[in-house]
């Protein structure tokens, strides 16, 4: 019963909030002459100037008071939702600045349009180093599997959604996607597709390896 009452309550709140007003347009003229008279009266009254006044005020606001509502694309862009899947970004480790990618190749494997390619080698520190990394954006369908499969949260989807280029198959190299080292502080932890859920800590099953 309780939930029915609750429902009624919300309905009454909604009723109170309704404040529709019926406008009084007067009588619609039914034949030629009264209609002509209405047109002349409306044209010559001050109503026209009222409308123009709104336009003029907005123009002043936009030009001199900095209250523009238009987005000047491509110079300005609207913010993108974190789960939007646009051009990939390669993140760095915040502590060392080294790229996060460990070269495991899982993104390459999972890619269903087969547009990721990478080359790895053995570096002098006996670690695996990524020597080449490309994504063919002419083929990428932005499914987000690569970001989801990445064990290190190294490859993520960013907000750059323009993928037009002079060539149909534009290539993007590792360096293009990598967070510039001087902008490391601006690098945001990814919150979108494939990132760790907010309650990840609760889901971890502890093993008795904590000796």
């Amino acid at each position: 019963m309780a939930h029915i009452e609750e429902h009624k309550e919300t309905q009454s709140i909604q009723k109170e909030k309704q404040n529709y007003v019926m406008l009084d347009f007067g009588k619609t003229p039914e034949y030629g002459l009264p209609a002509f008279i209405q047109v002349v009266r409306r044209s010559l009254s001050i109503e026209l100037l009222k409308g123009l006044g709104v336009t003029f005020r907005e123009m002043i606001n936009a030009l001199f008071r900095g209250k523009m509502h238009t987005t000047k694309y491509p110079f300005e862009k609207l913010p993108i939702a974190p789960r939007y899947r646009a051009i990939h970004e390669m993140l760095r480790l915040l502590e060392s600045g080294h790229y996060r990618c460990i070269g495991c190749g899982l993104c390459e494997k999972i890619c269903i349009s087969n547009c990721i390619a990478m080359e790895t080698k053995y570096d002098e520190n006996q670690r695996k180093e990524v020597s080449e990394y490309t994504i063919n954006f002419g083929r990428c369908i932005f499914c987000g599997y690569c970001a989801e499969v990445c064990p290190e949260l190294a490859i993520v989807h960013g907000g750059r959604y323009e993928t037009a280029s002079e060539q149909r198959a534009g290539f993007s190299l590792f360096e293009d996607m990598l967070t510039p080292i001087d902008k490391l502080k601006e690098q945001k932890e990814f919150a979108g597709f494939g990132s760790i859920s907010s309650n990840a800590d609760e889901n971890i099953k502890k093993t008795p390896l904590a000796y």
Binding site: I102, G103, C104, G105, L106, E108, K109, A117, M118, E119, T120, K121, Y122, Q126, R127, K128, E129, E132, T134, P151, E152, K205, T207, P208, L209, Y211
Partner: protein, 824 residues
């Protein structure tokens, strides 16, 4: 049923399925052959059970046994898994997962990991065990091997394969320095998991020579068998994930063993989309590779283009040519095309290795009545328990026969005699019952006569041979002193009771006895050791299945004709199975397909050989040809099987078939020649695409087709007397390539490091110095002296894998020759 049993066949039930198997076979192998899955990590087919992983636990007749080392009995009932066994297996996998690094993303095993597979298979989703880890550093073991002990699960497959199959025994287990297990665990955790963990916690894999570098043949079989990413090749490490590589089934191009391999290819780089071979893998349960097969894969003709002008020049050259000189590193189809050129244009065909082999085989066939030997190396490996090798430097000429020789010692409790003028320390070390007899140079006739003398059914031998053998042996009387135990009865008086008792005592007594000793001059001829009779008596005890392998020394021998007849005689009159090893990759195929001519002068076309106009798959000739990893075709291997090989890499140039097309008798493609291979010589008229190239689950080989032996009229039945051609001189050289080098192709591979040098034993190299100038019939050059620490004796080895040195020509019809040293 009775009939089946009389063949040594038994039947048993595994998981409700009735399986018929050979008596004495392990349960695991029977299950595998019948498509029943029993998990196992440490077991390798063709090797002895290691019993390290214990995961192959099954219940046989209500008793828990390990299926890898339990022999099946008739009527046995095997249950692969029940709840208890699953619990045990799960605990074993949980223990393997303790402290195993979780960076699977960067591991080279990349998803083809058996640890991962079994962990998932058994549904391990929690970790109830723990122990403090110890730091284990990764290291390079040799020029090709890299070992990461942190990833190692100590299944000992590498140790087992190195000992039981390769014979190097270069690996063993060493101390890990890990903490001991909590004693309480013994009562609380499953028994086998505890035992496995207890052992695992104590060991890692180390080189067996107490250093941090292995002293081995660098065959890389340990890399192949490793179930995890602990052992990888230094070259392949971190270059590619397993799943990116496309596996191309092919046949190894380097020796006559013709092993099945997979070329694993993917594009060279992001910029260069041409395919590149990243590594070679094999079906390691059924075939073992050598270092050349595994690492010598990048021998393709890299620079080939369709150069029309060069093709026109080639046509002109062939029109005026007197002969084509080639070697046997070609396919059957190419051999057939060369033969077509001979038939249509009358050009002579010169091929050093195949000619010697063909002559030998012709005499052999004339003496035997059939053109192929009867022995099969694969069945020898399973059944034989006594092997004799004559005239083959096993370590160099054919590694697979060396594995056979070793496997017989290790698995069949066999014995082996290795006759070779150049001593070999590795062969000596293959087993207790192995004797290396450094026979005199060119005394192989005496060895074969000795085999006849000892093993032949005298009724089957021609009278001349019997007479000759008896003329060589003398029966002398010899007195030997034997010590026997004699019973002596003594009367002893007991001091306390005064009673006398009869006590029997054993007292040694020396007896002199006259025995008849058969002494044969043969032993002296081939320089047998003094205790040869005793050795033989020991080796031959309880032996039933005899094998004889003969090699290249016999074909390049002043008495090769007589040797061929002797081999045929041994096959017909003794219980020996005989295998004849062709000298080069496809010598058998070439010798069957081509009519070969003697070396001649004139205008010579060289095909991968020296000549006035050179066709070359090495990229250094006047016209490019495809290498064996760039073309489809078939090879005839030492198992007498015609096996297919595939193109792993693209080839942009002209082929032999294009040349034939210019003359108007070519085919549309090279593989159209496959069905035209001569049926009269034992080939089948089969399409290339119908030839399989794989192994079945029970280990049987399903590759290509077997040659049919052809009947030949017997014309040469009795051998001649022994002629000893002594080779003497300041320095005697043996024409023999270093391990992992077989031909000019292996020499171009970037992971084969063995140089063209003079190889000598440690003592001899001290005498020779670091560099020598040698004079080969007027051709002078200086060579480095390399120590081959597995050689012994004074004879040095001179390789023939570089054609430009014309080593074949210098040695001629003998593999031994004295060389003159210039002043260095």
């Amino acid at each position: 049923m009775e009939e089946i049993e009389s063949n040594g066949q038994i039947s048993l039930t595994i998981d409700g399925k009735v399986c018929v198997a050979k008596e004495g076979e392990y349960i695991l192998n029977i299950a595998r052959a019948n498509g029943i899955f029993i998990p196992a990590i440490c077991y390798l087919t063709r090797c002895s059970p290691t019993l390290a992983c214990r995961i192959c636990l099954v219940e046989a007749d209500e008793k828990r046994v390990y299926s890898c080392n339990t022999k099946a009995k008739d009527g046995m009932n095997v249950i692969v898994s029940n709840e208890e066994i699953l619990e045990e297996r799960r605990a074993i996998m949980q223990v393997y997962d303790v402290n195993h690094p979780l960076q699977c993303g960067v591991c080279d095993q990349s998803g083809s990991c058996e640890l991962q597979n079994y962990t998932l298979e058994l549904g391990v989703d929690e970790q109830p065990y723990k122990i403090v880890d110890v730091k284990r550093e990764s290291s390079n073991w040799s020029s090709v091997l890299h070992y990461d002990p942190a990833l190692c699960i100590v299944c000992e497959r590498c140790v087992t394969v190195c000992k039981d199959m390769m014979g190097d025994s270069a690996l063993t287990t060493g101390p890990r320095g890990g903490e001991g297990l909590d004693k309480d665990l013994k009562d609380t955790m499953p028994k086998d998991a505890y035992a496995m963990w207890n052992k695992l916690q104590k060991s890692v894999i180390v080189p067996s020579n107490d250093t941090d570098k292995t002293n081995c043949s660098d065959c890389g079989e340990c890399l192949a068998v490793c179930p995890v990413g602990a052992l990888v090749s230094r070259d392949f490490m971190y270059t590619s994930n397993a799943w990116e590589l496309q596996k191309i089934p092919a046949t190894c191009a380097h020796c006559s063993s013709g092993c099945q391999i997979y070329y694993e290819v993917k594009p060279t780089s992001i910029a260069n989309r041409d395919k590149k071979i990243y590594r070679v893998t094999n079906e390691w349960n059924y075939v073992s590779l050598c270092g050349a097969g595994r690492f010598g894969y990048d021998f393709e003709n890299k620079t080939a283009t369709k150069d029309k002008k060069a093709l026109d020049n080639a046509i002109k050259a062939i029109k005026k040519a007197d002969a084509i000189r080639f070697n046997s590193v070609i396919t059957n189809e190419e051999a057939l095309m060369l033969q077509m050129l001979k038939d249509k244009l009358g050009i002579k065909l010169i091929n050093n290795d195949a000619k010697a082999f063909k002559d030998f085989m012709t005499h052999y066939a004339n003496a035997k009545g059939s053109n192929l030997s009867g022995g099969n190396i694969r069945t020898m490996m399973q059944e034989s328990d006594f092997i004799i090798s004559v005239g083959s430097a096993l370590r160099h000429d054919n590694p697979n026969v060396r594995y056979l020789f070793n496997n017989i010692q290790k698995l069949n409790k066999g014995a082996g005699l290795y006759f070779h003028p150049v001593g070999d320390k590795l062969i000596e070390s293959l087993g207790k019952n192995v004797a290396c007899i450094t026979n005199n140079i060119n005394s192989e006739e005496a060895v074969l006569y000795w085999v006849l003398d000892n093993f032949a059914d005298k009724d089957k031998l021609p009278k001349e041979v019997n007479d000759y053998l008896s003329s060589l042996s003398t029966i002398s009387k010899k007195t030997v002193t034997e010590t026997i135990m004699e019973d002596v009865v003594e009367v002893v008086v007991d001091e306390t009771s005064g009673e006398s008792k009869e006590v029997t005592k054993k007292v040694p007594k020396k007896l002199e006895r006259e025995i008849e000793v058969k002494e044969s001059k043969l032993l002296e001829m081939f320089n047998a050791p003094e205790d040869f009779a005793d050795i033989l008596e020991k080796f031959l005890a309880k032996k039933e299945n005899f094998s004889l392998v003969v090699g290249e020394d016999l074909y390049f021998h002043p008495q090769s004709k007589n040797l061929a007849i002797l081999v045929a005689l041994i096959e017909s009159s003794t219980p020996f199975n005989v295998a004849i090893i062709p000298p080069k990759t496809n010598s058998l195929g070439v010798s069957l397909i081509c009519d070969l001519d003697e070396e001649c002068d004139g205008y010579i076309i060289g095909y991968n050989e020296a000549g006035d106009f050179r066709l070359s798959a090495l990229g250094n000739g006047h016209l490019d040809m495809p290498a064996l990893n760039q073309q489809e075709g078939t090879l005839t291997n030492m198992h007498k099987v015609v096996v297919p090989t595939n193109a792993a890499l693209s080839y942009n140039g002209y082929t032999l078939n294009d040349i034939l097309n210019e003359f108007g008798f070519g085919e549309r493609t090279t593989i159209n020649w496959t069905k035209k291979l001569p049926v009269k010589k034992g080939f089948e008229s089969r399409e290339f695409d119908s030839l399989p190239n794989k192994y079945n689950n029970d280990g049987s080989e399903d590759r290509g087709y077997s040659l049919k032996p052809q009947k030949v009229k017997i014309t040469e039945s009795s051998p001649q007397a022994i002629t000893l051609n002594e080779v003497s001189g300041e320095l005697i050289a043996y024409r023999c390539n270093p391990q992992r080098q077989f031909n000019e192709f292996t020499a171009t591979a970037h992971q084969i490091f063995e140089p063209f040098a003079l190889y000598a034993s440690e003592e001899k190299s001290k005498e020779l110095g670091k560099k020598v100038k040698i004079d080969l019939d007027g051709k002078k050059f200086s060579l480095d002296v390399k120590v081959d620490d597995r050689m012994s004796g004074d004879i040095v080895k001179l390789p023939d894998f570089k054609n430009s040195f014309e080593i074949y020509k210098f040695f001629g019809q003998n593999r031994f020759k004295s060389i003159t040293l210039g002043k260095a």
